[in-house]
């Protein structure tokens, strides 16, 4: 058994969360907040702390779209592809995004900005009424930062 080490963030997170009821999702969120993804080596310690099998922990991680099992790229773009954004051309925006550069672009199903469609998120920043021009302008700034 691996003994928790004081500078191990995963062990620290598990230790501070394991006693709360329904601790698994809060633990996974805390790890992803800290490390930007959930590394495979976290599964064993979480499973033993919560008295679950590794399969159960893996099953939860893989069930939820939000949890990542490998490090994400520096910038992530999520374009809303639900009905309201479709009615305002999100499909065209998605095609445009995929064709204009090597961003990591993913669909998301509703950002709750349905009266200002189409909407998208660049990292944690929300953007609404995104025209193709606005997309280019926003992503150009992204290139400058990285």
């Amino acid at each position: 058994m691996n003994l928790p080490c004081h500078n191990d963030p995963i062990a620290a997170i598990i230790a501070s969360h394991q006693l709360i009821p329904g601790a698994l999702l809060p633990i996974l969120h805390a790890i992803q907040d800290e490390l930007r993804f959930i590394p495979p080596e976290a599964i064993g310690p979480i499973a033993s702390a919560l008295n679950l099998s590794r399969a159960e922990v893996h099953g939860v991680i893989s069930f939820y779209h939000y949890f990542l099992t490998s490090p994400p790229p520096a910038h992530q773009i999520h374009i809303c592809c639900a009905e309201a954004c479709q009615s305002m051309g999100s499909e065209r925006l998605m095609q445009h995004a995929k064709s204009t550069g090597d961003f990591s672009v993913h669909p998301v199903y509703c950002l709750g900005l349905c009266a200002n469609s189409p909407a998208m998120m660049i990292d944690d920043q929300l953007h609404a009424r995104v025209t193709l021009d606005k997309f280019d302008r926003l992503t150009e700034m992204l290139g400058d930062q990285s």
Binding site: E83, Q86, G112
Partner: protein, 516 residues
């Protein structure tokens, strides 16, 4: 000088933070002392970011304001309501707002969401004080008498649900707020959480007093980080002021509240899947019975209600069941915060009594389509709701009237599509979405949705159409009657309504779709 710039996500997504910074910098440059309040949104979302200035005669609105407008606004003396091309007039007099009946959203956009002082000055915690002076059964009775039904979409009478939890004996009971607002075309929950979080805390506390619960959870989707942030702050403020914790408002009663974050699974909006998720498992739907009211979170009796249902309770307690029940029609009592979205000129939140029509909402409030083209189809009630053709736009918005149309009023989310929309593609999308988001527990939903996409592809590509249409109808019938929850059970609504009302989009003549 008091200025209001919304801190609502919709305003933020349109540059409200940048605008606030620009205003502060310009005021500083001109040596003008201003107080900036980050209020919730008034719900006129096409005008965001909409700023307001406080004048002795009332608040005056300007919008939509961009950072490049700031200098000219100062030049026009907007701080005293000066004339400017973006000046909209007195906020309260704006047609879109004036015609509404704001009960649940009474404070949203008006107050500072995190000011307890503001909340108290606007009838805050009056409902809780009432509830504290009443026996539990009387609180439940008042909610039952108000006619309030679940605003998340299922429209189950809230008081009946509470009554079941009240009557079930247990050492521990829970209040769970379903804030997993994942449906396209809905943002009322988000606007309320961001714009008036204390009302939700108050509603949950009243629910706890009514059924004897001491612990509550708010399950908020991960796509709403801003709402989570505001709720956490509001809970902290309420706890410090003694409105949460071991001695609520000096009553000796205990109620604790905690926010839990979802993780991007649409199906967790289904109440039993949500409970599974809260317990730390995959969001897999549970069989009912047992009902969550009897065996809910961690196996204990649980009230699980939507944000708007819980947030409507304080005004019902403060003003009485009769006051609330006076709004609405038939068995749909009170108001519904309609959310006008998609291809619409003036999208936003419209709280109105049940009974208004889709046409009034889309044209009197919404001003027609954003693109200026004819409106073709309207999806009401989220991704699992039916598409309505123009012949149905004059039906009053009432739960039973919509059921009679084989449509879904649900949470009042409205997504407008203009005449460029192809309903066969939207029907295919409905099946596709179900396939992506199905929890996988029951076969009709898990397999049926994938088969549905395949069958629709064949219909769209004109392969063996007659046989495929029969297959689609059959498949939808199985999903409708054989699925464990609304995910698979209601996906046929958008699919079959699209086929029935817009057969030409499937390459059929009107008569060809009759058997569908």
């Amino acid at each position: 000088m008091k200025l209001f710039v919304p801190g609502d996500s919709a305003a933020l997504a349109l540059g409200a933070n940048e605008l606030t910074a620009a205003i502060a910098a310009e005021a500083d440059r001109r040596h003008i002392d201003i107080t900036l309040v980050r209020n919730g949104s008034r719900g006129m979302l096409w005008l965001e970011p909409m700023l307001e200035v406080s004048t002795p005669e009332g608040r005056i609105a300007y919008g939509p304001v961009e950072t490049t407008d700031v200098v000219s606004l100062f030049d026009a003396d907007f701080l005293h309501g000066g004339a400017h091309h973006l000046r909209l007039g007195f906020t309260e007099e704006l047609d879109f707002l004036k015609k509404q009946e704001r009960l649940t959203f009474a404070r949203v956009g008006i107050t500072d969401p995190l000011s307890l002082e503001d909340y108290l000055a606007h009838e805050g915690f009056v409902g809780l004080q009432q509830a504290l002076s009443m026996p539990a059964a009387a609180i439940v009775q008042q909610v039952t008498d108000s006619g309030l039904r679940g605003r998340g979409g299922a429209a189950f009478p809230t008081g009946i649900k509470w009554q079941t939890v009240l009557k079930t004996q247990a050492d521990q009971k829970y209040i769970v707020c379903n804030a997993d607002e994942g449906d396209s075309g809905t943002f009322a929950d988000r606007m309320l959480m961001e714009g008036d979080p204390f009302v939700l805390i108050e509603g949950m506390t009243i629910a706890a007093l009514a059924v004897g619960a001491t612990m509550g959870y708010l399950y908020v989707r991960s796509e709403y980080p801003h709402a989570i942030h505001i709720l956490n702050k509001a809970i902290e403020i309420a706890r410090e002021a003694g409105y949460l914790g071991r001695d609520i408002a000096g009553s000796g009663k205990t109620f604790e509240l905690e926010v839990r974050k979802g993780a991007g699974a649409y199906v967790c909006g289904e109440e039993t899947a949500l409970l599974e998720s809260l317990e730390g498992r995959r969001g897999i739907v549970r069989s009912k019975p047992p009902l969550p009211a009897i065996t809910g979170l961690f196996g204990k009796p649980t009230v699980i209600n939507n944000v708007i249902s819980l947030a409507s309770v304080p005004i019902i307690m403060a003003r009485g069941a009769a006051f609330y029940k006076d709004y609405g029609m038939g068995r749909s009592r009170g108001t519904l915060p309609f959310q006008l979205a998609g291809n619409i000129k003036q999208g936003g939140l419209i709280e109105k009594a049940f009974g208004i029509t889709l046409r009034e909402l889309m044209f009197d409030f919404g001003g027609g389509s954003m693109t200026g083209r004819a409106i073709k189809a309207v999806q009401v009630g989220g991704p699992l709701g039916a598409y309505l053709p123009e012949s149905q736009w004059d039906t009053p918005m009432d739960y039973e009237a919509y059921t009679a149309l084989w449509a879904v009023l649900g949470h009042g989310g409205i997504v407008v599509h203009d005449d460029t929309a192809n309903l066969s593609h939207l029907a295919r999308y409905a099946m596709k979405f179900c396939a992506i988001e199905s929890c996988g527990k029951c076969t009709p939903c898990r397999i049926g949705s994938t088969r549905g996409v395949e069958v629709l592809d064949k219909i769209i590509n004109d392969q063996d159409k007659t046989a495929q249409l029969e297959l689609l109808t059959d498949l939808c019938d199985t999903m409708l009657h054989g699925s464990m929850c609304a995910m698979g059970g209601m996906t046929p609504y958008p699919v079959l309504s699209a086929l029935k009302h817009f057969p030409q989009d499937f390459g059929l003549t009107d008569t060809g779709a009759q058997h569908a």
